[in-house]
Amino acid sequence: MQIILTINNKLVTWDVEKDEMLADTLRSHGLLSVKKACETSCCGLCTVWVEDKSVLSCNILSVRVHGKKVTTIEGVPKEAEEFARVLTAEGSEQCGFCSPGFIMNVLAMKHELVNPSEEEIIHYLTGNLCRCTGYMGQLRAVKTFLGGALV
């Protein structure tokens, strides 16, 4: 099936299989930041934005993004780098495998929530399971990045 979508602000026409999931389509087109790990739709690694909302790309049939705007971390390099620098400064940058999904969800949260409390931050990021460098370091980084969220 043929789909037309806007990927990272570029209009593209792609051929996809009927039962192909978006994560696989994105990877097959070189967007290798998108990774799959859990196969049960709960780890958050494959997080991308569809119409600026965080979604699990391993869980969306590619045909369903026809006519939509899809954003991966490759499409927001400036913001992603800004947050990555804060993460690094807190010593919580991880090995990098899970980071794109985590960063995409943090950026989505920044766009969606206004002055979130610590509880709201934790709740928003629950769907990103891997925090191998530690929840506290990452939480500090997220708060710094959001600009002094309340403790």
Binding site: S41, C42, K53, S54, V63, T126
Partner: protein
Amino acid sequence: MFTLGDLVQPENLEIAYQILSDKRNNTILGGCAFLKMGSKRIGTAIDLSNLNLRYIHETDGFIEIGGMTTLREIETHTLLKEYFNGVLPKSVREIIGVQFRNTVTVGASVFAKYGFSDLITALLVLDTDVELYKGGRMPLAAFLKKPKEKDILVRLWIKMDNCKATYLNLRNSASDYSVLNVAVSKLDDQWTIVVGSRPRRADIASNASAALSKGNLSNTDIEGAAQKAAEELSFGTNMRGTADYRKALCKVLVKRAIMEVKVCR
């Protein structure tokens, strides 16, 4: 992972239902999250995305929720936050993560009658009707008792009454399935107690609800109702908890939920 023979995106419900009825393995797609966990061989998959079934709005004293509305929309919608002490947003907010809730749908959660459903538990304590394309409109409780047959959940209707309600659950870890979930509501003097994820699907504890509605809400009455709920409902064992554990939990969560609703304004 499921396999698809074909995928269609019909322009109206009539065609969608026709295709659904054509062959036994033709299937409606919801958010696909649970479907993905199995290995179903789907003949023709029917995607309802083009049918404008993604909405929450107010119509003649009812909140209407379209079948393709996502659980995240339930969680964040102002109307649902304001009504019934926000019991519906509260019931879905711990399901996996934001990214997951942005794709899974109300229609699939309710139509599939999942035992683990948090949403069904909360919907059952409200005056909720289910509207099916073929089967028509009926109370959610009646729908849950009906044998499964092919149909399309078009929308939910929730009466905008003065119901006070709450939802509680216990999870072994954040974002896991509930070991047990409980919702309690009070409309005037009528109480409704619902327990789900037993791990069977949510059910109303009728005797406990009736007893509580007759009493004067003393601590003894509340404890009595919680005890009754634990006795009249059946509980099972799975990897998340034993039947005995769930029964003990039921008593505690029902008691807490009643006490919460008692002070709800």
